[in-house]
Amino acid sequence: MSHEIEDLNRRLLRARDAMDRAYAEPLDVRTVAAVAHISEAHFSRSFRAAFGETPHRYLQRRRVERSMFLLRETDRSVTDICFDVGFMSLGTFSRTFREIIGETPSSYRDAHGPMVAPNCVQMWAMRPRVAVGRATPADPAPQSSSFGEAGTAAAQ
């Protein structure tokens, strides 16, 4: 019985790892669910039960974390960084960044310099929590098969 939970967790973790690895690509729920060998609907529900947030939100926070890294560490433009981390439109990037961090990408860049820590530590430790008061309370699961940034079906 418990081995089933471990096996499910392990497959969900493999799918989460795929998002951490391929955040820059246009991922959709189907692709990530396939990594876990789980149907789309079951995947989103199981992922949330295991990790406390939807796969959509997990990926958003990974992309925002990577954008924060690039804002701190590079001179690339906000627009370039938006596409570097997998967002498909500047509007979605700016809105998502502001919702999670509580300020704009530009103001974040102005206030933060490079951070001296190994990249893996940054990826572990710096993936942002949602700024207080900014979160949409329900963190709704995406209704379409898109993560919101990829393709034309702009969920959210």
């Binding site: 939970i5 096996d7 392990r10 973790l13 493999r14 790892d17 690895r21 990790f51 990249n119 893996c120």
Partner: protein, 142 residues
């Protein structure tokens, strides 16, 4: 005064499977392997580095009651527990070697940073493994 780290342990879900992965896939060597009653003291270590051992502990009696063991197993399998960091002299060559040995659970292919080249993978149970080739390490990677 403390002189050295000797053993650090991680939780694995099966000691035989762990031994196979850490020795035959990752390239560590077996350290201790003693059985006393139901308990098996099993460690692995970096070849040539015998003073630091990694204990491979399996949740369950006599260390834990069954309910506690189940909680630990669930945490291991969702990647919520701590992991290991190793040094290598050639991250990209090791990446290829690991692929040839059938390792598929990479969390990050080799990437260059100002401090060196690192990569990431998971053991069969969900524990994170990081491997770093330090940039200025030709002489210093003891």
């Amino acid at each position: 005064m403390l002189t050295r780290l000797n053993v650090a342990s991680i939780y694995v879900l099966d000691k035989d499977e762990a031994l196979d992965f850490y020795v035959n896939k990752l390239g560590l060597e077996k350290g201790s392997d003693f059985k006393q009653g139901d308990y098996r003291w099993l460690t692995v270590r970096v070849p040539g580095n015998p003073d630091v051992e990694i204990g491979l502990e399996q949740p369950g009696p006599p260390l834990h009651d069954e309910a506690t063991a189940e909680q630990i197993r669930e945490l291991v399998s969702k990647g919520a527990l701590s992991g290991l960091v190793f040094h290598t002299d050639d991250a990209r060559a090791l990446y290829e070697t690991l692929q040839e040995r059938g390792v598929t659970d990479f969390t990050q292919e080799p990437i260059d940073h100002f401090y060196g080249t690192d990569m990431g993978l998971r053991d069969p149970f969900g524990n994170a493994i990081r491997i770093l080739e330090r940039k200025t390490s030709a002489a210093a990677t003891a």
